[in-house]
Amino acid sequence: MTPTTPASRWAIALLIALAAAPVFSALAGQTFYVFLLSKMMILALAGVSLNWILGYGNMPSFGHAGFLGIGAYSVAIMSMRAAEAQGGWLATAFVQLPIATLAAAIAAIIIGAVSLRTRGVYFIMITLAFGQMLFSLGVALEPLGGDDGMTLPMYSTLGPADLSSGPVLYYVVLGLLVLALAGSHRLMQSPFGAVIRGAKSNETRLEALGVPTYRYRLAAFALAGAVCGLAGALLANQGGYVSPALAAWTHSAELVVIVLLGGAGTLFGPLFGALAVVGLEEILSQLTEHWRIIFGPILILVVLANRGGISGLFRARTNV
């Protein structure tokens, strides 16, 4: 998708609105929305990363939230150490975010190296299993609260401020999301992206052209895991606490929903998907506690009626 399609015009308008949102919510005295939109954008970031493998590359990972967990727990561990030392270099976001990202990347290389030897349903099952392993690891980590998780002893610092401040976190997240989207565009138009998109439909033919596809798919899987780890590090700061639920399969499923609902394999799909999922959850959960009963059918309808998800809806409308 080039930045001139209807979907991308909407997406850019949405990003501009997001950039202005904290100002308006401050004026209106509704800071809750900054909190909620931060969460939405963090999930969009995780969705962007999942879209590389699930959307563009047809690698349907159902354990992607495991990397959210790794990123979040990396921050929790570093912040514990930093709190004991009362600050220091380990407390800063400039250290914590890269390390969280790297930790997730390493896990993704290992998980990907095994999972990518399978295809289709087997790939879904094995990534699901790895996700559950990471979830169980979180439950087993007693010093970090085990089942219940733990409150962050201190937030990632950023110069004089830290990420406990709603607006600071908000703009850090927005900045990283915009970077990830720009990177996503560039990456998918690169030769590497072409290999990932090509392997989606015709891996054998790519191999017959001299392209060792496994290597490239593994690199994409690692990159997706890394960026999802970064999202996890942000999510820990957004909620102020970490728990194994971050890595639970239901959370992985939510990321899959974000990608499918927004439009798998489209640049801005994850942004639309995250907005829709977080928005619907918020609205429906105020109407009834059984909001999932309404949410499920809406999801199924959108995806069935339009394979391209929300991005596809924009396209369909302008084609008429």
Partner: protein, 253 residues
């Protein structure tokens, strides 16, 4: 003496109870167009699947320019100069026509797929342009391959096979489903393919085809496959007069 382009020794491939290839011996000299003919299910596609590495033989050897490749992965065979087309056109439907041929071009130029450059840099575009011009697809280079007509997908399939600049080209029914004009175009195209390997020796071509006029017009030699065995090999003239062949295959055609 230099090694032949392709030497197959005692190749055997079993599918359950079916011996799809049943002890095949075959030698191709550099630069020849060698047709493989035979009834449906006689094992022609199975043979080139093993040459490309898509299937692994149960036993036997496949030497490409002197090296036994029978158990090497697909992509290394491409690096050694083997390329193929598909009986049912096998393109990348979501990608543009230009992107479809760019993979092989990049591989031939020794470029790995970088993360941050543009997919179609100048040196790549030059060769993409040339390939698509030759195939008669330049006008549709920006269209998604999945939107092309069957005939254009067939041309694209062959162009993709050539994109990695192979010196041993395996063509699986390149004329299937083409109209009269398109067939003429494809025949000219295949003749050009042979001369066109830049620089170096002529390309060697294995041509699987059911269109006998085309086979007799194009090939230097023909091998006839029946039930997984080669029953005859010879010049078009020899094959045309061979009684076994007439009985086993040409008689039905």
């Amino acid at each position: 003496m230099s090694s032949p382009a392709l030497e197959i020794i005692g190749l055997h491939k079993q599918f359950g109870g079916v011996a799809a290839n049943d002890g095949i011996d075959l030698i191709l000299e550099t630069g020849e167009i060698h047709a493989l003919i035979g009834p449906n299910g006689s094992g022609k596609t199975t043979l080139i699947n093993q040459i490309m590495g898509i299937l692994t033989p149960n036993s036997g050897e496949i030497h490409v320019f002197g090296q036994n490749v029978a158990h090497r992965p697909i992509h290394t065979r491409s690096k050694m100069g083997v390329g193929r087309s598909w009986q049912i056109p096998s393109v990348f439907p979501d990608l543009t026509v230009a992107e479809n041929v760019a993979f092989g071009v990049r591989a031939a130029l020794g470029l790995s797929a970088g993360w941050w450059t543009k997919a179609l840099t100048e040196d790549v575009t030059d060769r993409v342009d040339k390939l698509l011009g030759q195939a008669g697809l330049r006008q549709v280079m920006d269209a998604p391959a999945g939107d092309l007509s069957h005939a254009d997908q067939r041309k694209l399939d062959v162009a993709i096979a050539l994109s990695s600049d192979p010196i041993l080209v395996l063509l699986d029914e390149p004329l299937a489903g083409l109209g009269a004009d398109e067939t003429t175009h494809m025949l000219t195209y295949i003749r050009k393919i042979r001369a066109n390997s830049t620089p170096g020796p002529k390309r060697t071509i294995v041509l699987i085809e059911h269109d006998m006029d085309a086979v007799f017009a194009l090939s230097d030699r023909i091998s006839v496959l029946v039930e997984g065995k080669i029953v005859a090999t010879g010049t078009p003239q020899e094959i045309g007069q061979n009684p076994i062949v007439q009985h086993a295959y040409l008689g039905e055609a």
